[in-house]
């Protein structure tokens, strides 16, 4: 029997207690994992929005209006910025995008208003029906996920704001954020929002051979007072703030989960050491050193937490999937499964094991053999 086998056997000596301890810690780990998955999803949703239409970079207004109903706020740009940007050398094209989140058939949906040229980029993602025809401002295409959420398919009608639209196509891009959105011509969104000529952002395409850095620098130099260029999500202050907040809250909750798990762990391990006092005396009598005892008890608490991490990961994934399929997470949260999140969960579990096991293990290792053996 290897030392590891011995530790695992010891861990499951009292099966009910071990199981309860594992479940308790697993819930903490599940919390950490599901928060991680959701906040990952938030970040990557933003990232993909910014790079929608495969543009090289985007332009946002610097005037922030905090009462926004979309993740970029209502920081808006007027349409005449398009021509100014097109005038910069190295810029091939600039397209206005108007993104809003609004209730469609009572569900929060993101609606993207884009130009006809940008729409054609979606041609090859259409899996059902067709793309919007040029100037057809009563037509929309909806992503596959959105069509499921709304229970709409090709030729159905949907109400957005006070306007009625016809679904002409369903698309699937593979990007869950886009696939949970509705796209239409930018004019239609202006009509719905009664906000003619307004842009959320401008996607900029640069000439072949031009350098993104150079072009953005030129734009910042010329118009830096009013607009900012963003090449990645971390450039957007509002999003960065939101993301920091979510990350902060996740960390706080995770820390709490670790502390609660750790206390449960201390409790269980103290009980174990207490019950096995005599046995620890015997181990010392047959020659085990303090370190040997410490290793065994710490090992047992690590085994408990590793099982917790595995079960917690599974619960975490199930919870996230359940939240998503129940539609509670809204249209901007889409879980993104990264190894990192699970690694974090396992690190948290190991911390709980070490933190919770150390004190009882030290206590056990310091028992004097004679007293441990006299223990009834």
């Amino acid at each position: 029997m290897s030392f590891i086998t011995l530790i695992v056997k010891n861990t499951f000596r009292n099966k009910v207690r071990s199981l309860l301890t594992i479940v308790g810690i697993a819930i903490g780990i599940a919390t950490i994992i599901s928060l991680g998955l959701l906040s990952n999803g938030l970040t990557s949703s933003f990232d993909k929005t910014i790079h929608s239409g495969d543009s090289d970079f985007s332009i946002l207004s610097k005037q922030q209006n905090e009462t926004g109903d979309n993740p970029f706020g209502t920081s808006t740009l007027s349409e005449d910025w398009l021509n100014k940007i097109k005038g910069i050398s190295g810029v091939k094209d600039a397209k206005g995008v108007y993104l809003v989140v609004l209730l469609v058939e009572n569900k929060p949906m993101s609606l993207g208003g884009i130009s006809y040229d940008d729409l054609t980029l979606k041609d090859n993602t259409i899996i059902n029906g067709r793309n919007i025809a040029n100037n057809a401002d009563n037509e929309v295409i909806i992503g596959k996920l959105a069509s499921e959420t709304l229970n709409k398919s090709v030729d159905d009608e949907i109400n957005i704001g006070d306007e009625r639209f016809k679904v002409v196509g369903i698309f699937e891009s593979g990007n869950s954020n886009q696939d949970d959105s509705i796209y239409t011509l930018i004019n239609s969104v202006w009509k719905i929002k009664k906000n003619e000529g307004v842009l959320s952002l401008i996607s900029v395409y640069i000439e072949k051979g031009a350098d993104v850095k150079e072009v953005t620098k030129d734009i910042e130099n010329k118009y830096g007072e009013n607009i900012s260029t963003i090449t990645s999500v971390s450039d957007v202050k509002r999003i960065a703030d939101l993301r920091n907040m979510i990350t902060g809250v996740s960390w706080a909750i995770s820390l709490l989960a670790i502390i609660i798990g750790g206390i449960g762990m201390i409790n269980t391990m103290i009980m174990i050491v207490f019950e096995r006092t005599r046995e620890i005396g015997v181990l010392k009598a047959v020659g085990w050193s303090r370190t040997d005892i410490l290793r065994m008890i710490l090992g047992e608490s690590l085994v408990l937490t590793l099982f917790s991490a595995i079960i917690g990961s599974i619960i975490g994934v199930i919870v996230v999937e359940a939240l998503v399929s129940a539609g509670i997470t809204g249209s901007i949260f889409h879980p993104v499964f990264t190894l990192e999140t699970f690694v974090q969960g396992f690190i948290a579990a190991i911390l709980v094991g070490l933190f919770g096991g150390l004190y009882p293990a030290l206590k056990a290792s310091k028992l004097t053999p004679t007293e441990a053996l006299r223990y009834e």
């Binding site: 029997m1 047959v286 020659g287 085990w288 050193s289 004097t368 053999p369 004679t370 053996l373």
Partner: protein
């Protein structure tokens, strides 16, 4: 003249801030390969003396040397215990969720054996105590005598030079007691290990080459007896 394996000089040990004088000046020499019994009233200090010899506790005063190790000065007492002594207690103190053979492996973890070697050696010992067919049985499914046999195997597994048995038959019926004693004596003779048994049973005490009586933490009688 043989050299003593145990040399104890004016050994004192007290508990509860000196209020309980468990050992009060013990002087004792025991020859290598001897079989010694220790008798005395309850609370006279027998277990304490045995624990001192096995380095489970440290003396307050006096000197104690076992197998050439000065136990007053030694740092790694656990090392000494793992090489030189094997303990057998009144209660078998086996680990309940481990099989017989796994229990016997326990003292070997601190040495550099492979898993396989550990298992092999543990099975040899199990054979030696006549329990080869109970290797996979857990202590709860063993009789009292069988448990004590497993405990004896566990005490012998690291090839100690001294066996310290504290009332090893204290909770067994007389027939089983006799079997266990026969086994211990047999092992003592075959392996030439020094055997020290604490007992309340004068009939058992008589089996030893030497009988020591303890009272109030002192040796009041020590007689060699032929057998």
């Amino acid at each position: 003249m043989m050299t003593p394996i145990i040399k104890i000089n004016n050994l004192k040990k007290s508990y509860e801030n000196g209020n309980i004088k468990a050992l009060n000046g013990i002087n004792l020499e025991i020859e290598k390969g001897d079989f010694v019994s220790i008798i005395g009233q309850s609370g006279s200090g027998k277990t304490t003396l045995l624990n001192m010899i096995g380095a489970l506790d440290i003396a307050d005063e006096g000197s104690i040397e076992v197998s050439g190790y000065n136990l007053n000065k030694m740092k790694n007492l656990n090392k000494f215990r793992s090489i030189e002594v094997g303990f057998i207690f009144q209660l078998h103190n086996l680990i309940p969720n481990l099989s017989s053979v796994e229990n016997i492996e326990i003292p070997m973890y601190i040495h550099n054996y492979s898993s396989k070697e550990r298992r092999k050696r543990a099975l040899e010992l199990l054979d030696l105590v006549g329990l080869k067919d109970k290797a996979e049985t857990k202590p709860t499914k063993l009789s009292g005598g069988e448990r004590q046999r497993v405990a004896i195997a566990r005490a012998l597994v690291n090839k100690p030079s001294i066996i310290l048995a504290d009332e090893p038959t204290g909770s067994l019926d007389s027939k089983t007691s006799k079997n266990i004693l026969d086994l211990l004596i047999d092992l003592h003779e075959k392996e030439n290990v020094t055997l020290i048994i604490v007992t309340h049973d004068l009939n058992i005490a008589k089996l030893a080459n030497r009988e020591i009586e303890v009272l109030d933490g002192q040796i009041i009688d020590s007689k060699f007896q032929g057998n």
